[in-house]
Amino acid sequence: MKSMQSETDYVLKTVEERGIQFIQLWFTDVLGTSKAFNITPAELENALEEGMTFDGSAVDGFSRIHEADVLARPDASTFQLLPLHEDGQSVARVFCDIVNLDGTEFEGCPRVALRRVLRSAHDLGFTFFAAPELEYFYFENLDPALPLRLLDTGSYFDLAIGDLPTELRRRSVLTLEEMGIPVEHAQHEDAPSQHEIDLRYTDALTMADSVMTTRLVVKEIARRAGASASFMPKPIAGVQGSGMHTHLSLWRDGKNAFVDESAPDGLSSVAKSFIAGLLTHAAEITAVTNQWINSYKRLVPGHEAPVNISWGRNNSSALVRVPLIKQGKIDSTRLEYRSPDPAANPYLAFAVILAAGMAGIERGYELPAEANVDLYSLPEADIRAMGITPLPSNLNDAVDAMEASDLVRTTLGEHLFEWFIRNKRAEWSAYKAEVTAFELERYLPRL
């Protein structure tokens, strides 16, 4: 890479040339909520060199008892003008790594955690690429006090011209492309008012940044049109929820490491061990890939979401799917991990997914037999008889599995690991104490 200095110079020059008035420093808390503060161009040079100090105790998961102050250090390679500014102001954003005042990595920073996993894969010669498909719903508003109103009644691939959600999706895609986030594909999804944007593969760190940007762009563009968008995993019972199926590939020496042209199925031993790693550790990483109470309302049978820890070729009921590739396109060989939802923290989700797969490679896990039947159609007893275990069915079970996992503990580091578990336990306790509409409807008249 060119020197850091020329990258910094480029950013400073661009700020000057384009008359940028504010630079937003972006980072995420542990749960993947976007955080930002604004600085003026005058402060930028200093920020790029030394970082900006802020009080970390104000951010979920950053607080530590003795040292509250941390530094946001902008990653100049992520500097990008925001095409979103409304009032004629020129605004740019740059993603930050959070570091301690002494310059060491801050353990609470999700971006830093992902970097660490990517580095260890890189030490073995691997580069990790990810391509998520983000599903979400458009609503008239997001006020929980009002009834949910959808913006359309369409379904899969409906070609609708001139309707608002399609227009909003189109504007979102154009905005993303303008920001250098290539979109592979965008479509109406299965449920009414549900849409999908598939991002084109890139390295996992850039992709996690892109997921954060995409969520913001989609919501902001809806908001401007007086509508709303939500990435909540299961906003409406009885229809498909919103997932973030993520396509994964590993590259080594410029070649797709999942490919073995001499193997009858085209999959290398690296690919097979990687799948085995994902399956072995799937239950442990689910609390991270599906981090909300509501995430588990999506992971139920019958709505194209995985429920069982299995793999299969082009089997959409499997947790890990090996998509069929077009003839001759061996470079597009990849795995699809189907449990994550778009409300996950993408940094942490990609980190644990990669760590699970890499554990499979490093420890030489055996790949279990492929599930080549539609698991949704089989009785549970038959599925268990095939040796297939279920994914955690609620947040509490998922956190139990995570707490027992050395893999997740090492991958996230003590600080993130413990904070995450504490936070999720608290969420579960609050939920457990709730009396839901389901209970009232069902029990109040009867009991």
Binding site: E7, T14, E178, G180, D203, G254
Partner: protein, 230 residues
């Protein structure tokens, strides 16, 4: 770029530094005659400008100014350097220089004055602009525009586009692009190139994405339909 001519031969270092900062070379002369005699061998199109120091001998300095100005193609811009006490000697000689600077010399002031003079003459253009079809890249300001619309590129996107556009129609392999643009075996490997090309195309927009063409099983090339190399 052609040099600035400086008088006298022992021109103060501050001046030479300031000229260098504007991106120009310089040549010091001991007399108007030397400036005249060596101009064609030391420059391509003539002196870019002149800085004449009059603190030692203002009369001689003004003679040099006159010789540089009163000729078929006058040397311009011409910056005169003098002491505050010499100011009253400038009256009625205002046509001999474009601006003046008083001692003590400060490099930033000199640089700014020279740059301002160049800009006023429409020569702020030590700006180099690379043009390929609808694409323009200003190499001085790091800005790229397509059909007049400025593109918001990241540093690596800019470097990649600049490299491709500097060698239109030439095909580059991913490995070559990686080593020439990124500098060495970059983190992401050759696949990084594909990813950045796709990002660049996204930013170029649908109607210009084809400025960067994929050459099957080889790599990429920059080119537009109907564009012919000079």
């Amino acid at each position: 770029m052609d040099p600035f001519v400086c008088f006298p031969s022992a021109t103060p270092a501050e001046i030479l530094l300031a000229i260098t900062e504007t991106g120009h070379p310089y040549a010091c002369v001991a007399s108007a005659a030397e400036a005249e005699a060596t101009e064609m061998e030391r420059s391509e199109f003539g002196w870019s400008g002149a800085v004449v120091v009059g603190t030692e001998n203002l009369t001689e300095a003004l003679a040099v100014c006159r010789s540089l100005r009163k000729r078929e193609s006058p040397v311009s811009p011409l910056l005169l350097v003098l002491n505050a006490e010499q100011l009253d000697q400038l009256s009625l000689r205002e046509d001999l220089f474009d601006d003046f600077v008083l001692t003590p010399l400060r490099v930033p002031e000199l640089t700014t004055r020279i740059t301002t003079l160049l800009v006023r003459q429409g020569r702020g253009s030590d700006e180099e602009v690379l043009e390929c079809g609808p694409l323009q890249i200003n190499l001085t300001t790091y800005q790229a525009a397509v059909s007049g619309k400025v593109l918001d590129l990241t540093y690596m996107e800019y470097e990649l586009l600049r490299f491709l556009a500097s060698h239109p129609t030439k095909v580059f392999t991913r490995e070559t692009l990686l080593s020439r643009v990124w500098g060495y075996e970059y983190y992401g490997g050759a696949r990084t190139v594909d990813v950045h090309i796709r990002r660049l195309r996204a930013k170029l927009g649908e109607s210009h994405a084809q400025l960067i063409q994929t050459v099957r099983s080889v790599g990429y090339r920059f080119g537009t339909q109907g564009w012919t190399p000079k």
